[in-house]
């Protein structure tokens, strides 16, 4: 998510940020702007419906201030330095886990979020937030292989093995420039968990990737879909939604979740500790979980929903697409990436060796 422009930082949000820094220093008294009827939303770029903000302001009368960030690390960094005034944020699976363990999230008040009842059974007990105490899904997706149909068959593309066989599409494959994701697929290929903390298993995955360096063109910083569209590579490790966007422009492209499992990915609404308007934040989450509002969001960003009632309003092509909603047997084998604490060091050291040999 390196290259997405941050068009949201206006002078107003900047001033608001500086004001918040001042506030956190002066103890006690709430500043005037905290009592205003607004909600400060912090989200990724191009990750919201076209009318979501408008309909929220109309139904609740609460004004929305919208700000953007580009990586989970940016979000975690800002919140752990003291919440600069955000009411509701969007965090990925492992980020939810890290934030809740550092007491940086408030429990959701489900009395104010009746639409939370629409949550599908399969999403109620994720490892990163058991019982959904702190988070409700915003969008879900899988990480698999985007591929060019004229260069490789769907059957071949449906295994992580293509990345580790230097004879297949040599120099025409890209992996992702992130240690956990790319090492995750090597671990899955070897039959281990993507969240293993065993040094031996991590080293095996490392050696597998070092041997594969020869056949891999590059570790792309979230630009695999562009490499695929330009014909620079014919197989790329990517998020389903990103591939879906380029599939619209080039029908020779397709997406497969490998038989070894694939990675499950989700981004979730959560309310950070120190939110100036926690009630408005709950109202916001309830609003985006309204089936029609949720459907409008997913029809715009084309990711999957975990809202059972929203599906009837979502574009049928997307609801029936195995890319957006993988069949149960595929989804059942996917694993989310969760934080591994001290074992992060093992992954990082392994990644350093992979990226320099």
């Amino acid at each position: 998510m390196l290259n997405k422009p941050n068009h949201g930082v206006s002078r107003r949000t900047f001033l608001q940020g500086t004001a918040a820094v001042g506030v956190s220093v002066s103890v006690g008294s709430k500043p005037a702007w905290a009592q205003e009827d607004i909600v400060n939303v912090y989200n990724w770029p191009t990750y919201i419906g076209e009318t979501t903000i408008e309909t929220f302001e109309e139904t609740t009368g609460t004004r929305v201030r919208y700000d953007l960030f580009a990586s989970n690390e940016e979000l975690i960094g800002k919140l752990s330095a003291g919440n600069p005034g955000y009411d509701v944020v969007v965090a990925s699976d492992y980020a939810v886990d890290l934030l809740r363990k550092q007491d940086l999230l408030l429990p959701l008040n489900y009395d104010l979020i009746p639409n939370g009842d629409h949550l599908e059974e399969g999403f109620r007990n994720p490892v990163f937030d058991p019982g959904r105490i702190y988070s409700l899904p915003h969008a879900i997706s899988t990480i698999g292989t985007g591929f060019r149909k004229s260069e490789i068959s769907r059957e071949d593309a449906s295994s992580w093995g293509i990345y580790f066989d230097n004879a297949i599409l040599s120099g025409k494959k890209s992996l992702y420039d992130g240690s956990r994701l790319t090492m995750g697929i090597a671990l899955q290929f070897l039959g281990y968990s993507v969240n293993t903390v065993e040094e031996k298993e991590i080293h095996e995955a490392r050696d597998l990737l070092i041997a594969a360096n020869e056949g891999i063109l590059t570790f792309a910083p979230d630009s695999g879909q562009d490499l695929l569209a330009a014909g620079t590579v014919h197989a790329a490790l990517e998020w389903s939604g990103d591939i879906l966007q380029v599939m619209l422009e080039d029908d020779d492209l397709d997406f497969a979740v490998p038989k070894e499992g694939g990675l499950a990915w989700g981004d979730h609404w959560a309310v950070p500790t120190g939110a100036p308007h926690p009630e408005n934040a709950m109202k916001w989450i309830n609003h985006v979980w309204d089936p029609r509002v949720q459907a409008e969001i997913q029809n715009t960003i084309r990711y999957g929903t975990a809202n059972a009632a929203a599906k009837e309003f979502i574009n049928p092509d997307d609801v029936n697409s195995p890319v957006v909603y993988p069949p149960a047997e595929v989804w059942g084998k996917t694993e989310p990436i969760i934080d591994v604490g001290h074992a992060n060091r093992l992954y990082d050291d392994a990644w350093t060796v992979i990226r320099s040999s």
Binding site: I76, R180, N213, F219, V353, S356
Partner: protein, 302 residues
């Protein structure tokens, strides 16, 4: 000239803003990073302050030294290439007629008006297999074969030059980004140069080349050293170019540091790594000042 000791009050008032600036925006952040470098990473990626040298020990592990070694090599190559291309360019600007001088200088500075990231991404479009460079090469290839009598069907398949996503692409990108920092200081010293030295050299029978290498270059040495220093230090810390244009083993020390502050969330180790670089840079600057002092001494003796 007045000695500053005679006007201590005026001097200290004048010095206040820059001193404030340096302390607030340079020294203090540096101290924070320095303190971090002795801390340790908690299980959730938080930074715990403390006193431990493990981060420095880790920074000196073989794998990091190998990355640093490779980075230094790439940096030396980039600096040499910047000089090889930058010196003639500075000369061309310096000897251009007045009206052109300004236009050429503008051309050197113009790229700075576009974001570095965007300029680096533009090189992907130039270097990729179906990009501008390979498109041109393919056209030459096809035209050549049809000129020597091959039919359309008989022309051997054009194999694109694999120049993107490897160290070649990284060096090209780094030279492109940093060459203005070589041109500008050299140009500045050339402007001050007394051109009669060159005339004298030519009048006394030296060839053009000999004049450039034996008279001009030594006289421009301060500019060359400044330019080389700037390019060297900036290249050493750059990570965007290797990120965008590099291949699977393109890791430079800057990428390693950036990752510690980003995805790895290991700020203490990132801080220790950057301080290792900082010490190395200080040693370089110190050597440069010794060199400059020697030059001055030599000039004084003349």
């Amino acid at each position: 000239m007045q000695n500053w000791r005679d006007e201590k009050n005026e001097f200290s008032i004048l010095m206040l803003p820059p001193a404030f600036w340096l302390v607030t925006f340079f020294t203090l952040p540096l101290v924070v990073v320095w303190v971090y470098s002795f801390g340790n990473r908690g299980p959730l990626g938080e930074t715990n302050l403390g006193f431990t040298l493990v981060n420095y020990v880790r920074a000196f592990e073989l794998v990091h030294m190998a990355i640093l070694w490779k980075t230094v090599w790439i940096t030396i190559i980039v600096t040499a290439l910047c000089f090889a291309f930058g010196f003639p360019m500075a000369m061309a600007i310096s000897f251009a007629p007045g009206k052109w001088k300004l236009r050429l200088l503008m051309l050197v500075i113009l790229p700075f008006w576009t974001n570095l990231l965007i300029r680096t991404y533009a090189w992907i479009a130039i270097l990729r297999p179906r990009g501008i460079l390979n498109g041109g090469l393919k056209w030459i290839h096809d035209t050549w074969y049809s000129l020597i009598g091959y039919g359309v069907e008989e022309i051997p398949k054009f194999v694109p030059w694999e120049i993107l996503y490897n160290d070649k692409a990284v060096v090209i990108g780094l030279v492109y980004v940093h060459i203005p920092f070589m041109i500008l200081p050299i140009y500045a010293t050339m402007e001050k140069l007394d051109k009669s030295f060159l005339e004298a050299s030519l009048d006394l029978g030296s060839s053009q080349m000999r004049t450039i290498f034996r008279v001009m270059m030594p006289l421009c040495m301060t500019g060359i050293v400044s330019g080389a220093m700037l390019v060297f230090v900036l290249t050493l810390g750059n990570f965007i170019v290797a990120d965008v244009l590099g291949g699977t083993n393109s890791l430079m020390i800057g990428n390693q540091i950036a990752r510690q502050f980003g995805a790895a969330r290991d700020w203490p180790f990132g801080a220790a790594l950057s301080f290792v670089i900082l010490y190395a840079t200080f040693i370089l600057l110190w050597l440069r000042s010794i060199y400059a002092a020697r030059l001055e001494q030599r000039d004084a003796k003349r």
